[in-house]
Symmetry: C2
Amino acid sequence: MAGNGTIERLKRREAAGESETRTREPRFSRQQPDVRRQQIVDAAVRCLAKGGVGAFTVSAICAEAGISHGLINHYFASKEDLLVAVYEKVTDGLADFTRTILAGRHDPEDKLRAIVDASFSGEIFHESNLAVWLALWGQVRNNPALRAAHKELYDGYRHAIGHQVRAVAQRRRLALNPARLALSLTALIDGLWLEWCLDPTVFSPEEAKTACYDLLQARLGAF
Amino acid sequence: MAGNGTIERLKRREAAGESETRTREPRFSRQQPDVRRQQIVDAAVRCLAKGGVGAFTVSAICAEAGISHGLINHYFASKEDLLVAVYEKVTDGLADFTRTILAGRHDPEDKLRAIVDASFSGEIFHESNLAVWLALWGQVRNNPALRAAHKELYDGYRHAIGHQVRAVAQRRRLALNPARLALSLTALIDGLWLEWCLDPTVFSPEEAKTACYDLLQARLGAF
DNA sequence: CTCTTAATTGAAAGGTCGTTCAACGACTGC
DNA sequence: GCAGTCGTTGAACGACCTTTCAATTAAGAG
């Protein structure tokens, strides 16, 4: 259990019989504000992954981060603010990974494949990450800041996919509505995330990926 | 605000100057256990719809139901038990409605259409209902009883859809994996529910329905 | 080494939470 | 009418929640 490292350290010091005047081990270590903020956000993410929104409490997060109760409100005005920081962290993580995967690709077909692959790769498509998404989704409706962040993320995501779909359709001279297919693809991915998170026994990540490829193939031809 | 109907009734009585000996209005009314249970479950559903899992508190539910704090634990051993009852209620509501819609249909094509239509009909596809589903999804991972109920519901749902898909495929002499298409369709529906619940401005119920029809058409032919 | 700064602690305040339970009183059967 | 049943109330309890803040002290500057 994290969080009482301080106490343990003190006990060790006393047991060793060190005198008061000797240089004693510090009771805590200072951190650069940015570093500490990240520590707290990371701990909060782990809490969400472990126990959903019910585990998103100040004491649980501080214990997980190994800091005292008071510190959380020194870095975040409120628990709500911390939740927004968590959403941004998770969002950025997904965006960064997608960007990395997209880096080498230039064909729109390649890029669409990469987006699907990224969505079901081991880095993204694992229980604890999806559990965090699930917990965050549950808060979007009741938190205006989260709502705005969510809208921005999803609009951008659908737009990016629509852009690649349009390129493929033009190249293959297909008449279809790119925005509509982008909508279907994002919904299918989210639906697979949701259902696999709630019950991972029904299908494998590979099958999920296949489902997306099947959709693209049926609407755009060979994939 | 509900929940203080008793007090209001008493005040009204006093203001009217009724004597103590006169037949006074009862402080509460008894209900058959089944009726009261349903009242509580219904109130809990409304709370979930209004404020997500954060509004699923004993005081909020009792206020919504117009009963006193203590009564909730007279009918449900714990809040967790109540949540399971809520899940069953919402589940049964969906199942009943789908059964009604399916009643007159005999063609497998007709039945598949009916399932999609039901999923995006006004009775099911509205914000407060989807908000309840969203809140419940967020609890499935952390509540064993909910987890079991969820698995039963979704396995049955996927199986029913797979059955109709198989019938269509056989009739049209198509070689495809019915379970795989059933998986895609349920995931697409859930994904559309999720995304519309989180941001209803992006697409209309009609567009959501079209997305599902498009999927069926692309894989099974004209729909 | 001393002074200064500000990151960190931990106790305390003030709520709200879920649950329990003794007392109340609305109804049923007699 | 009367008595018994049991659905219902509401106060009380202990646990836990978030936020605040004065005191502490690690760490960098002079």
